[in-house]
């Protein structure tokens, strides 16, 4: 009975709607893909092809020179490495902190915890410009400007709202009975969290990891503020800088854009479900 219920009606609709719908979608899909396709196509063209004004047409040959130029560029390697060095710890850190806070709000509430929770979550909604200056001063004073540390710390901190929100919402769906049973067996809260609740939370963790990784990897503002020298740049900052250098080498720029986006593209393709779940879980339940 149940799976018949959840099945949508599958009779052909006599008005011919599916055809119209499909055509609309194809047209829109092409429109939406065009920008990205353009970059992809340009990246496999030679300089001659492009300068002949053929940036947007199908390539006559499949040329990987641009990619070679990018991948052998020492700076690009440094940028990618820096980005990784920032993204990995910050992702892990913000998720870890989100787990701790989310657990309390979900399982160990206290008077006023709802308000506190809202306060933390609302941090998600504020433009980072608001705390730009004081953070600049803070890290300047600590002598950490022009290192990777400020970015790691700030991304960890700024990730706390969304991580807390999603983890708390997820933990709330874990039955209290599980926690109580474990406590009766003699476990303390830490054990409950690590041994009972966390193993059940892998989907939520996947969601968060996807979201945070993408967000931090793609970030531009904090690297812009906190770094100066070339060897501390992250890839997005480096992208802007190098594109300035490669001024009319469009093909190389296209290749660079793609290389810079590759990690998040791969994450997106493989973890799409988690991406979408993440966006909607936080949004609809919030």
């Amino acid at each position: 009975m149940t799976d018949i219920q959840s099945q949508r009606v599958d009779r052909p609709q006599p008005e011919g709607w599916p055809v119209v719908t499909f055509i609309c979608l194809i047209v829109l899909a092409i429109l939406f893909l065009a920008p990205t396709l353009g970059v992809l196509l340009s990246s496999v063209k030679t300089v001659q092809e492009i300068s002949l004004g053929h940036l947007w047409s199908l390539p006559t040959s499949f040329n990987l020179d641009n990619y070679v130029a990018i991948l052998t560029n020492q700076s690009v390697r440094i940028y990618l490495l820096n980005t990784l060095l920032v993204t990995a710890p910050a992702t892990a850190g913000s998720i870890a902190l989100g787990i701790l806070a989310g657990y309390v709000f979900a399982k160990l509430p206290f008077r006023g915890s709802d308000v506190l929770f809202l306060a933390v979550v609302s941090g998600m909604f504020f433009p980072p410009q608001i705390i730009l200056i004081p953070l600049f001063r803070l890290f300047n004073g600590l002598g950490l400007l022009d290192t990777l540390w400020p970015m790691i710390f700030v991304h960890t901190a700024m990730g706390i709202p969304i991580c807390t929100l999603l983890m708390r919402n997820f933990f709330a769906t874990v039955p209290n009975a599980l926690r109580e049973a474990a406590i009766l067996e003699g476990a303390n809260e830490w054990r409950v969290l690590v041994r009972v609740v966390l193993p059940l939370s892998l989907p939520a963790l996947a969601v968060l990891a996807t979201l945070q990784f993408t967000w931090i990897w793609n970030d531009f503002l904090w690297p812009l503020i906190f770094t100066q020298s070339d060897d501390k740049r992250t890839i997005m900052l480096g992208l802007v800088f190098l594109n300035g250098q490669y001024s009319v080498a469009w093909g190389v720029q296209g290749a660079l854009s793609l290389v810079a986006s590759l990690p998040t593209l791969i994450v997106f393709l493989f973890f799409q479900r988690y991406f979408i779940k993440g966006m909607t879980m936080g949004a609809l339940k919030g």
Binding site: M1, I4, V9, R11, P14
Partner: protein, 369 residues
């Protein structure tokens, strides 16, 4: 006058055939109940009648018109869902009048009809409320109201009482029965609860694995089940089954059941000698005691005292499941006692042990010793 006719309906989902050739006739004003175990296809059949599900082959004729390919809205049916399917963003009045508003009926006509329906169902005071504010029973009535206002040829009910708690279920059952009498409407009702089926139906259709096992009135099904499936499905506690055999293939012959023998009359179908048969006896047709020759002896496992009646379960030899016997409430039997089991006045139903087909039945009245 036949309101609904299903002709040789077949339905497959992919390679799985769920409905395997169903023929059914529903007369005007009848309340027909489709009943059967989970997965028997009763809900699918209802959805096919409604048009929410298409048929793979077969014909559906509603009110004399071939509605096999017609969309649900044009079949002259209305459906009450198990989950009520009330629109949460509309008031009760808006929910009921939804179909009329879609058809762009006039406001006065809508108000009048809604008031009429609300009156029948006694929900006039709830018209401006939101579904969220209603109790289960009230929501059910709104769902029924939405169906009534369509003035359909056939009402379809999809397990409407399954989501209610036990007490409410009894109450709503009575209301539906009353409603049926008042409206004189043709209704097709799906349930897995055989008590609902027995109490509500004019006609019961017992379904099993996509096929009809038997169609008949509740009493017919109870007293004369056509096969073993219907026999064990209808009636609570379930009928008891015992292996038995005939003394010979032709008349005159006797039925050998346990340690007793019974004369078998003509209506009982002829069988080959030694062919295994099953004898089915309802719990109220067995007794504990030494009045008549005992069928067998068995140990009492459980005694269930329900107040109005007592049911004794015994572990009997040759029977995989406990034998259930209804006894008078005041008996002092206790678990662990070993007692003789005999037949009381009643019927022995005979079935072919291999296929389950009904062979016939033997009436028993207690012979004076």
């Amino acid at each position: 006058m036949t309101e609904l006719r299903l002709q040789d309906i077949h339905k497959s989902f992919g390679s799985v055939e769920t409905i395997r050739g169903i023929d059914l006739t529903v007369e005007a004003g009848e309340l027909v109940v489709l009943v059967g175990p989970s997965g028997c296809g009763k809900s699918t059949l209802l959805r096919i009648i409604s048009g929410l599900e298409s048929v793979t082959s077969g014909k559906i004729i509603i009110g004399g018109r071939d509605s096999t390919r017609a969309p649900p809205a044009q079949r002259g049916i209305a459906m009450v869902f198990q989950s009520y399917a009330l629109f949460p963003h509309m008031t009760v009045a808006e929910n009921i009048s939804f179909g009329l508003r879609l058809a762009k009926a006039g406001k006065k006509e809508i108000d009048q009809k809604v008031a009429q329906v609300a009156d029948i169902l006694q929900i006039a005071g709830l018209l401006e409320r939101w579904p969220k504010q209603l109790s289960g029973g009230q929501r059910q009535r709104v769902a029924i109201g939405r169906a009534i206002i369509r003035n359909p040829r056939v009402f379809l009910f999809d397990e409407p009482l399954s989501n209610l708690d036990a007490a409410l279920r009894v109450q709503m059952r009575l209301e539906i029965a009353r409603l049926h009498r008042r409206l004189g409407a043709t209704m097709v009702y799906v349930t897995h609860d055989q008590v609902e089926a027995m109490t509500l139906a004019d006609k019961i259709v017992v379904l099993n694995a996509g096929r009809i096992e038997q169609i008949g009135s509740p009493i017919e099904l109870y007293n004369a089940p056509a096969n073993r499936f219907v026999a064990q499905f209808i009636g609570s506690p379930r009928m008891n089954f015992f292996p038995a055999e005939f003394s010979a293939s032709q008349q005159p012959r006797e039925l050998i059941l346990g340690a007793a023998r019974f004369a078998v009359g003509d209506p009982v179908r002829a069988t080959r000698a030694g062919e295994p048969i099953e004898a089915g006896v309802r719990p109220e047709h067995l007794a504990i005691g030494i009045d008549s020759p005992p069928l067998f002896e068995a140990e009492i496992a459980i005694v269930e005292r329900l107040g109005s009646e007592t049911i004794v379960y015994l572990d009997a030899p040759g029977s995989a499941e406990p034998v259930a016997i209804k006894v008078t409430a005041s008996c002092g039997l206790r678990p662990g006692e070993r007692v003789p089991v005999t037949l009381a006045d009643g019927v022995i139903h005979l079935f072919d042990a291999a296929g389950g087909d009904g062979i016939g039945r033997v009436n028993i009245s207690r012979k004076p010793n």
